[in-house]
């Protein structure tokens, strides 16, 4: 089975704030990490390989710096790492990212299963997975919490929904995005770390993928960020303290004053 896992390198903290006087982002010594959800995708790729055989290739699009993310993935035991990097790719929105990732996946070969994270913690969109699946012309399932079986080219999958989960059977090839419930990622092994250091990382450029500069990066992106700003600062409300009886009595009387019933009217 050919398994491709797409990982994104993201700033290691979302604790990014905006300086209220200058209205600019303040970044405090953030280092780059693998998007947390993508670690579950890597782990699921390894588990599928252990169950059904095959090869796991990780793929990351980004500046040359993503090499460190790819080496980390190698240390967990994936077979190959491919870096998709070219200045022309910079500034890509989810559509341009999908165009690029799909071209890279096709370049690597015909995948049976493509795994991605549910969303990246910097952009928080979750759109790259479904969008890439369309570009590849394969089916996709988001929010997958379990891959039950893959037999005779048919995967049986559990997908989370707001009010429960659905069990779905679908023929490969397939792209899925995973939630963290799907597994518990393994730590890097000593052997893996050694291999990760030496392994060669293949790099794919715009030319390798046969894409035009207009279809990728900033120019290939229909959306544009016109403004960034901080969310309005909360002010905080009334806090009661002292012994529990008095504090709770004060809270309830305050709620009553505000006309709030602390109880579902239709309740028991």
């Amino acid at each position: 089975m050919n398994i491709v896992v797409c990982i994104k390198q993201v700033p290691g903290s979302t604790e990014i704030q905006i300086n209220p006087t200058t209205n600019t982002l303040i970044r405090e010594g953030v280092e780059a990490i693998i998007n947390p959800f993508d670690l579950y995708a890597v782990e699921e790729g390894l588990r599928l390989k252990e169950r059904y055989g095959g090869d796991v290739t990780v793929l990351s699009m980004g500046p040359p710096h993503v090499e460190s993310a790819l080496r980390e993935a190698l240390s967990y035991g994936v077979d190959e790492a491919v870096m998709v990097s070219d200045r022309a790719f910079a500034g890509a929105d989810t559509l341009a990212t999908a165009v690029t990732l799909a071209a890279a996946i096709q370049h690597i070969g015909e995948p049976d299963i493509v795994l991605m994270g549910r969303q990246a913690i910097d952009g928080d969109t979750g759109q790259v997975g479904p969008s890439t699946a369309e570009k590849l012309g394969v089916a996709h399932i988001t929010e997958v919490k379990k891959i039950e079986t893959v037999t005779d080219g048919v995967a049986t999958i559990q997908r989370m929904l707001e009010d429960g989960y659905a069990r779905i059977a679908v023929r490969l090839p397939l792209l899925i995005t995973v939630v963290k419930e799907i597994n518990e990622p393994r730590p890097a092994s000593f052997k893996g770390k050694l291999r990760a250091k030496k392994a060669e990382i293949r790099t794919l450029s715009l030319q390798d993928l046969g894409l035009t500069p207009e279809s990728v990066g900033l120019t290939g992106s229909p959306t544009r960020v016109m403004k960034i700003f901080s969310p309005p600062k909360p002010t905080g409300g009334k806090v009661f303290n002292g012994d529990a009886h008095t504090a709770v009595a004060a809270l309830i009387s305050e709620l009553k004053k505000a006309g709030l019933a602390l109880k579902q009217p239709s309740g028991d």
């Binding site: 979302t14 704030q17 905006i18 600019t24 980004g62 969109t125």
Partner: protein
């Protein structure tokens, strides 16, 4: 770095851009900013440098998808499950109606000045929902009612939606920020080769250009971004749950149902079974009263404190990620960035510090009440009311006094 330029004579070496860059992509060389190859052209530095104007990004000239003025009106994708509209549908229609008003207020730019709001209703037996949609205020229902379209057959639905959107050419398409919406809309946008903004919390029309301004949180809610889709159509967005004002329902309202007879591709998915969450896990997203517990509970058995209060209020039980990660309660109860977004009338946070990732999931609750023994816990800065004290004393006391007042 291509595409981005530092105008050396304008750069004063103030380092504001360096502090701002989320990707560590700017260095100071000889007191001037130099962009390195980590740059993703995100534009944060351009904002940071607006006082000096020393950083510019060029080359943003995507191909136009032909004549944009032929795209008019607003279409809302209608998600329905178990034969009913999902709760977010009236909220999206509410947002669409507000946009319609804003667009029609700027008639000068528009040819006809008329901005119809349509509902895209695809499924089997969906026609029963058409009248309800009209009562919520849509002018037209674009209907495909076909026995083979399962509610979760997203590939088939996406295919049908693309055909109708291509034919009707709405200028704006909105969908819900639900599990299905956030899976289906990207596949539709990808096929139409247009932009899509995820999980918007504010949608307005730009007074000058008439474009849709799509505002959404990013970086776990730490920053907000306003996004435009200038050169392709339709402009597409998913809308965050429980943020927009739902359209009121007006029984008996009249509208048009347009039935489409388009080819329906068989789905690649075979639905085996739907497993509803067990009864105790009330659908958090729709609950009006929620009591959540965090690490402050100390151990799994202590969730009974939270459950007891939830029961007294007639509400649902939520949790912080710390409590879920510790294995005290199931993931389906998690509220926050990586859990559910909720907007109840009352949200009671017990033993939850109120990390930003938790806040993004619950801060739009009408009333937030925090119970925490640490006066400096960030939860108090967003709580409308707080009790600073030991939750093991406060919760039972609250339950007792609530019973007395009832």
């Amino acid at each position: 770095m291509e595409g981005i330029t530092v105008l050396v004579d304008k750069c004063v070496g103030c380092k504001l851009c360096i502090k701002t860059c989320p990707y560590d992509a700017i260095d100071l060389v000889d007191k001037k900013a130099v962009i390195n190859d980590r740059c993703t052209l995100c534009g944060a530095c351009v904002e940071a440098c607006h006082a000096y104007g020393a950083i510019v990004i060029e080359g943003w000239e995507p191909v136009q998808t032909g004549d944009l003025s032929i795209y008019t009106g607003i279409a809302v994708y209608v998600e329905h499950r178990h034969g009913k509209l999902v709760p977010i549908v009236p909220e999206i229609i509410g947002a669409a109606l507000e946009l319609k008003e804003q667009l029609e207020g700027q008639v000068k730019e528009q040819s006809g000045g008329d901005t119809p709001v349509a509902a895209l209703l695809i499924g089997s037996g969906g026609s029963g929902l058409a009248q309800e949609l009209i009562e919520y205020g849509v002018d037209e229902v674009w209907l495909v009612d076909h026995p083979d379209i399962h509610e979760l057959a997203e590939d088939t639905i996406s295919d049908v939606a693309v055909q109708i959107i291509s034919e009707k050419k709405p200028a704006i398409v909105l969908g819900g920020g639900t599990v299905i919406g956030r899976s289906l809309l990207p596949s539709i946008a990808s096929r139409l080769r247009t932009g899509l903004t995820a999980d918007c919390t504010e949608l307005t029309i730009d007074a000058e250009s008439g474009l849709l301004r799509q505002t959404r949180p990013a970086f776990g809610g730490n920053i907000m971004a306003t996004i435009l889709c200038e050169n392709s159509r339709p402009q597409m967005a998913t809308v965050r749950h429980k943020v927009m004002n739902p359209a009121p329902r007006r029984p008996g309202r009249e509208g048009t149902v347009v039935t489409f007879d388009v080819p329906v591709q068989p789905s690649r998915f075979e639905m085996l079974e739907f497993v509803a969450e067990e009864a105790s896990a009330v659908n958090l997203a729709d609950a009006e009263f929620i009591v959540s517990g965090g690490r402050g509970l100390g151990e799994p058995a202590n969730f009974r404190y939270v459950e007891e209060l939830a029961k007294a209020l007639g509400g649902a039980v939520g949790a912080s990620r710390a409590a879920v990660d510790a294995g005290w309660i199931q993931y389906s109860h998690q509220v926050g960035q990586t859990g559910r977004t909720v907007k109840p009338q009352i949200y009671v946070a017990c033993g939850i510090s109120g990390a930003i990732q938790h806040q993004v999931g619950m801060k739009s609750a009408d009333v937030i009440i925090a119970i925490n023994n640490d006066p400096d816990a960030p939860i108090f800065s967003i709580a409308h009311y707080g009790v600073q004290g030991d939750l093991f004393e406060v919760i039972p006391e609250l339950v007792r006094q609530l019973k007395e007042t009832a």
